[in-house]
């Protein structure tokens, strides 16, 4: 992997996104380094998915700049980013093995061997058609596709929401064990207590702004609370 160390992996400057009359993100600035697992946390509607889509290049900013390894979102950045959307986008009639072939064709950094290995660990039949799989199994297939790439930046939007606790454990250890030590993983989720121990840092979003950036152990050390507890306190309804 060619990593250009002159630039941070991700740099966001004064980013604002307005949907017609709703302000989803309000003047966000954030820099992330390589080799980190970052939790993007916040209540519903705080702007998590909008931020991820902007980084992935699926939305354009209203104001502000995003740089991935020094590139603005575009052809170059998309080759570096492996993105798991918050909903399924694969064609239902396809077989799992066809989708793998499709991905292998599409992404130069995709490893079919890795994908098949993970499928067998999770006991998913490669011959099955997607529409015959349960909701949770479909989510697992999507995550396998995303994690089988050797990307610089993984954007995982709610990767564990729909899967059972055993598979959750496997998925988290896949994220820990699989990714390149120079790559950074951004995980957005509500299930903080499940992911807390795999995270380096957390970014709290609230009302379209960055409310806090901290390392997990700093929160535990300085506040004497787990991230989960702190979240419940900060966002008490």
């Amino acid at each position: 992997m060619n990593t250009d160390n002159r630039f941070p992996l991700l740099e966001i400057r004064n980013l604002t996104k307005i949907y017609s009359n709703i302000q989803a993100l309000n003047d966000i600035s954030l820099t992330l380094e390589r080799g980190r697992i970052v939790g993007l946390l916040g209540p519903n509607g705080s702007g998590k998915t909008t931020l991820i889509k902007l980084i992935a290049g699926l939305l354009t900013p209203t104001h502000g700049d995003i740089f991935i390894n020094g590139y603005r979102p575009g052809k170059e950045s998309k080759a570096m980013i492996s993105y798991l959307p918050d909903r399924t986008y694969l064609n239902d009639w396809m077989r799992v093995m066809d989708i793998i072939a499709f991905f292998a064709d599409f992404y130069a950094d995709f490893s079919s061997a890795k994908a098949y290995d993970m499928l067998s660990r999770l006991q998913i039949d490669p011959h099955a058609r997607l529409k015959h799989l349960s909701k949770g199994t479909k989510e697992k297939v999507q995550l396998i596709l995303v994690m089988s790439r050797q990307a610089h930046l993984y954007l995982l939007d709610e990767p564990i929401g729909g899967v059972d606790p055993a598979a959750r454990d496997y998925i988290l250890s896949t994220i820990i064990g699989n990714y390149n030590p120079d790559a950074t993983v951004i995980i957005s989720t509500h299930l903080i207590s499940d992911v807390e121990r795999v995270l380096d840092d957390v970014v709290f979003l609230a009302y379209g702004k960055v409310a806090m950036v901290s390392s997990v152990d700093d929160i535990r050390e300085k506040q004497g609370k787990s991230v989960d507890e702190l979240f419940r306190e900060v966002y008490r309804c």
Partner: protein, 124 residues
């Protein structure tokens, strides 16, 4: 090894304590080679950087040492291992005595219940 991360204390400290316990109890024998950071992290289901931090601290305390190409090993320094054991025992003992005091037991009562409990366990 069994890993348990819980509560609100820093994760690397909990890892540190559990590796120390593994060393004292012999689950991780003196002189043996530790698995890689990545494998340990995957096993404990924690972030590799957090595991690295725990191992760095163990290194500073002299309990593990790195050999440039072949990985990390647990110290064979008996004196250091004995000292670690004493520290841990003292720590548990102080905690226990503190709890007994807060319940309101006197020294004599504490001694008596310990003797009773031990002879009870002997019979079983």
């Amino acid at each position: 090894m069994q890993w348990q991360i819980q509560g609100d204390r820093p994760i690397y400290i909990q890892l540190l304590e559990q590796i120390k316990l593994g060393i004292i109890s012999g689950v991780l024998p003196a002189g043996s080679r530790l698995p890689s950071v990545r494998d340990l992290a995957a096993e404990a289901k924690v972030n590799p950087n957090t595991m690295q931090k725990a191992l760095d601290e163990l290194g500073r305390e002299g309990l593990v040492f790195s050999q440039r190409t072949s990985g990390r090993f647990i110290t064979e320094d008996r004196q250091l291992l004995d000292q670690l054991k004493t520290e841990l025992v003292t720590q548990h003992l102080e905690q226990f005595l503190g709890q007994m005091r807060s319940i309101g037991l006197t020294r004599e009562e504490v001694l008596a219940i310990i003797k009773d409990k031990l002879s009870e366990e002997e019979k079983e």
